[in-house]
């Protein structure tokens, strides 16, 4: 297996197939730690991890924090609203001040694409992208793929359908990149207004018929309709979206028996999927959350675990 050499995790575009597989294998080993009575190993003792979040987040932030804590790293949170940023300091200055306190990693989320890259280019600590605008959210895609591999035993040759707001979705883009590298067949599906122009150039099939996608898929990944990014009217109404693209029990009759229903959360029940589907036996939405900690532990360990050459 390949050696890990990367200093930052900004996008899955930067990783080779071997590196993606190394993360997935390492994550599998880490999953066991969270099932122990004493949920802690000393691997990152003495390391400091700072979470710099400029966008609201519950799941990702808690997941990263637990991952770091279960590796014995010290963590702290900087919420943008209560920091010097509200006093006019630039992001880079804030980050440089954090760097001056000798931290080992900064986990950053920002509504503007490219911020993690700017920080990585200018700072010494490892930068982990926890979502930048509509660009990338590497650990989410990794945990999605980890869950698929765990359930299906493979990624190569899987038919993965991604349904919803493809245009604004960093999760979709990141998943497409990594799933292509690992040999899955990806089909994206959604209203044409939420389908990026030229999306097929990413190496995916495009469909506007959700029933067709359901019947062919092994895994169905639903994306949240991001109300905060719907200022321009992309949809006539949420209700119309739910009617045309929402997943319900009736639609799933045409699905394969072992179809996986996935969602990066937070879910809008009654919009992307109905409650009975979200809680149904094909749904692995909560397992994704559990696996997220293992994946983030693997990423932190690979980035911070050993001395840099």
């Amino acid at each position: 297996m390949s050696q890990w050499t990367k200093h930052d995790l900004l996008d899955l575009e930067d990783l080779s197939k071997d590196e993606l597989e190394l993360i997935l294998t390492t994550a599998k080993s880490f999953r066991e730690v969270s099932s122990r009575d004493v949920k802690k190993v000393p691997a990152l003792r003495g390391k400091t991890v700072v979470m710099l979040f400029f966008e609201p987040s519950t799941r990702t932030r808690i997941s990263f924090e637990l991952a770091a804590k279960r590796l014995s790293a010290d963590t702290l949170n900087v919420a943008a609203s209560s920091s010097s940023l509200s006093k006019g300091e630039t992001i880079l200055d804030t980050a440089k001040n954090i760097e001056a306190m000798n931290v080992d990693a900064i986990i950053v989320r920002h509504s503007c694409a490219g911020i993690p890259k700017v920080l990585a280019d200018n700072l010494g600590p490892s930068i982990i992208n926890a979502g930048d605008g509509c660009r990338a959210h590497p650990t989410q895609a990794l945990l999605d793929i980890f869950t698929m591999k765990d359930k299906k035993g493979r990624i190569e040759g899987l038919n993965v359908g991604i349904v919803g707001d493809i245009l604004h979705s960093r999760v979709a883009r990141c998943n497409i990149t990594a799933l292509n590298k690992l040999g899955a067949n990806v089909t994206v599906c959604g209203p044409s207004t939420l389908m990026p122009v030229g999306v097929e150039k990413l190496g995916v099939q495009v469909s506007y018929d959700v029933d067709d996608v359901i019947s062919k898929s092994d895994c169905l990944m639903l994306l949240r309709i991001q109300k905060e990014r719907q200022e321009d009217k992309f949809l006539p109404s949420i209700r119309e979206y739910a009617k045309k693209f929402g997943i319900n029990k009736e639609r799933l009759k045409k699905a394969k028996k072992d179809l996986l229903i996935m969602h990066p959360g937070p879910t809008n029940r009654g919009v992307e999927l109905t409650a009975d589907v979200a809680d149904g036996e094909q749904s692995v939405i909560l397992e994704q959350v559990t696996n997220g900690i293992a994946v983030r532990m693997a990423v932190l360990f690979l980035l911070l675990g050993t001395k840099e050459e």
Binding site: Q3, S29, R36, V38, K40, V41, P42, T306, K307
Partner: protein, 182 residues
Amino acid sequence: MPEDTKIMDKDDVKRAVMRIAHEILEKSKGVEDLCIIGIRTRGVVLADRINECIKEIEGKNVPCGVLDITLYRDDLTLVANQPIVHETKIAFDISGKRVVLVDDVLFTGRTIRAALDALIDFGRPSCIQLAVLVDRGHRELPIRADYVGKNIPTNRDDNVKVILKENDKKEDQVVVEKGKIK
């Protein structure tokens, strides 16, 4: 020119494992509360073999676990080559149990130190004992083995290589390679 010396062959390994199994049973007075945990990678194979011998002797298996000590290493921040983290599988509660930890070679004792820390995170065994196929000396920590297949005097820079067919696809043997460790 470094020379390799074969210290144990297939039959020597087999006899040593069988003797260790007998000694464990003698000391524990049977299989009650006994469990065996192998340290990755070759300790796992040896643990399985010891368990087979125990079954041969007593007619009963004991619980067997797998321990990966990577996350407990004291040199993680010193090594540049990323060690691959493997899964730890201990599917039973070790609290109150007599744990026999199994490894292939006992050298500095640092692996065992890490393994002890890891085990304690899983519970409070009534005792922990150590079984190794080879003790080659040069301890850096106050650790000793309870069951030893063979004591081999070595130089600090010799490499002791344990070859087991399950892992290495070659006939069982123990080889000393002169002057291989810098």
